[in-house]
Amino acid sequence: MPLEKNVNFLTEALRALRVENCELLYEEERRGLTRFAQDRIHQSSETEGRWLTVRCVEEGRVGLSKTRCFDREALARAAKQAKELAQSLPTPEYPRSLPSAYAGSFQGANDEATAHIQPFERAQIVRNLLDGKGKSKAELSGALVTRRETMCVVSTAGVRVFEERTRVDVNLVATGSGGTGRGFWTGWRISDAPWRRLLDEALAGATSRQETRTELRGNQRVVLDYLAVGQMIGFLGYLGFGAKSFIEKRSFLVSQLGEMIASPQLTVLEDPLSVVPVAHDYEGMPRKRTVLIQEGVACGLVTDSFTATLMGRENTGHAAQPDSPEGPLPTNMVVREGQLSLEELLNLVDEGIYIRDLHYVNVVEPMSTTITGMTRHGTYLIRGGKLTQRLPDFRFQVKILDFLRALIGIGRERRPAEGPCGIVESPPLASECFRIVGAAEQDQKRRRQ
């Protein structure tokens, strides 16, 4: 449905509902997916779905109802349910309200070629990647996902917002005699995807030979490449830089806002228009660029209309989906680049390890920012400032803030990586503090390795 038509439809629907203090959030996604492994496409799918969320506020209480049915009867039922739910709730100490009038639209990251890519075109890309392996015996697996997402918000308070955007995610893993290697890219235009570079990076990891087992324990000097940094910085954002956990006193930032929490080299922003731009939040408010860490000092966090009012701060426009229990979170984080090439970072570390990616990261203790996980897709020994032998993967347990306080260098090329709640665009980072707590067991007899 064209955007204007969507907004008009929603506005009409809202009027017909005759409900006060009501907001309608319309979300539509058309997704194409091709997954492949061992030279086979094992999933090829096309999905289209749309949701309507009705948010009713009654004396500061919020009731939500979601539906995929769009006939008049279903919409009326959803509104009635949301209203009745709100009326049933206990009176809140801090009443909620809908954000005040705002009108806006954004289609600045919307690519028709990406939106309309056909299954056979995605299959052709997979074929090209497989052909591009050349003589390499590594097995390729991965996923290519294309999306067109539409979002509209209208409310009785006068909000009228629409946004349409596209997104591409490419994940490529090569498995070979040396282990695995990975290439990852995300953007909003399929023609921007750097296929050759992604393939080369994946193959490089798969073909580098794994050397003898090395016992490494305790604190290490490290270079984390951008994929690994995405996890570290993303978890920092998740743990500390959302207003809800701050208000609930569950955030490490409660005692450290305004304090030096990292090396003065480090500046981290939330930039909603970076990489995969998202201009409005789920309340239809404009998402604002927010400095989270300025030269090592924690100086900001992200809010939605409710938490901003509670904290007496500006609404940065980071409302999550209404049914999310997490509250506002940074979803487009950017680590400001430094001056150093990857080679210079390795030189700076001199003796230590290089880590390409992290796997299955989880929080062990939130207030100390302690996380654990495994290294993946290439862990190498650095000796004399050069990458030498490939190492097995390691389990780490790291306090993110300790890692960031001990930064010794920042790379100059930023690239997008996945974090736990969005994209993190980051350069590689070198630090003197990264704690290894164990090595992965040698693989059992593997058929393919």
């Binding site: 539906t67 994940n171 062990v364």
Partner: protein, 485 residues
Amino acid sequence: MSSEMLKDLAVRILDKIPRRKELYADVRIVWRRQERLKLTNFQPDVCLTEEDLGVGIRVYLAGHWGFAATSSLRSDSIDRAISKALASAGSSAYISIQGVPFQIPPQVVADYQTPVEIDPLSKSLEDKLGLLEAACRAMKSEKSVLLAEASLDIFKESKAFASTIGSVITQTTVHCGAGIAAYAVDGPSVQVRSYPANFGGDYHAAGYEFIEALDLVGHAPRVASEAAELLRAPVCPCGPTTVILESSQLALQIHESIGHAVELDRILGHEASFAGTSFIAPEMIGNFEYASPIVNVTADATSVGGLGTFCFDDEGVAAKAEPIVKEGRLVGVLSSCSTAPLIGRESSGAMRADGWQHFPLVRMTNINLEAGNKSLQELIEETDKGLWLETNRSWSIDDKRLHFQFATELAREINKGKLGKLYRNPVYFGTTPQFWRSCDAICGKEEWRIWGVPNCGKGEPMQVARVGHGCAPARFRNVQVGGVQ
């Protein structure tokens, strides 16, 4: 929407798919109704009702799968979805990529419904909110508890499946879950205790009677006082020791280090690009010593109350109870009609999709550790020195499901057969076969219960499955334990 209506619709959509001799197709219509209520400090947090409806169409053509799905049941949307599913299957063949096998399941016509005593959707909002509010109040009576959370989740799903081999199946499942959590705060220290488990509590395939039986309000004061006690407790000591895992923690241990490891698509490398593979290779099935001889693990899609309980999977294969580990030996895996033939087996009936919008994947059903023969009291009394570890707080495992680390909310010292001192921030880690081989005692049927995991993530983009794990507390020797400062 009634099961009959869904069934009629599924058959009508199936009839629209152009028949070709070599084509197999199935249609899956899924209707879901969910109610989620969460109070934080008696304040409404997320309070939501949700109704989901859509159709997924899967076709198998000349060795290739295609899938399309839509939330619109209008005729033009369905026609478009059918065309897209066929185009998706054709696209793989078009570029001559090697195909995948498919073992056509037997034809079946059936209906199934979760047995329910009290329909959870018929219970009034006032009753549900009253329960959560009372639980929050009971936790807040402890001074250091700054945050008291109480939540409940009701899930009802009706699904109709129709396939070109003449199978027509309708299934209605009802899941209920609830839990409480108390956060005690002292300056920069925060400790959490939850009941009956963390991350939303416990879930069963059952009606509202399950939530009532949890007695959230009755447990709230204990939960709150334990959170406060943890603030003052010393950090868990480090080193190898004997541990007894409480059953909700053991359920997650089974989930991560057995359940995912025995998914055949992972074993075959299909999930290599995201969640990872498995340390298991096909040739290890039947002769690999996974665990000590007292360990028996069954994938049982028929367990009463399990979130992984159904009558037929999303390919129309009948639910089974299949041994996975028998007297310590790996004997089975979780599989589908496309993966099982690759190792010369039949599908274990574990192909499951998240809603209508996803292609099904090999997923866990209820992966149960069979009961042993000890009482919990005996287990503790027979342990000279060790730790009792209770309620999961964090989990992580490598991409081959081999090297894991778990954190729990609390540890209690076991000294000369008695529970003693409380410790905070315990973690334990190990490698899957070594850990399971060190299991030397499992509690009996009195302690055995099935736990619900409603948020198992897999696939790319992520699909969420609802799975179950039955188990009783068990003892493991020589486990590496540590504490986070």
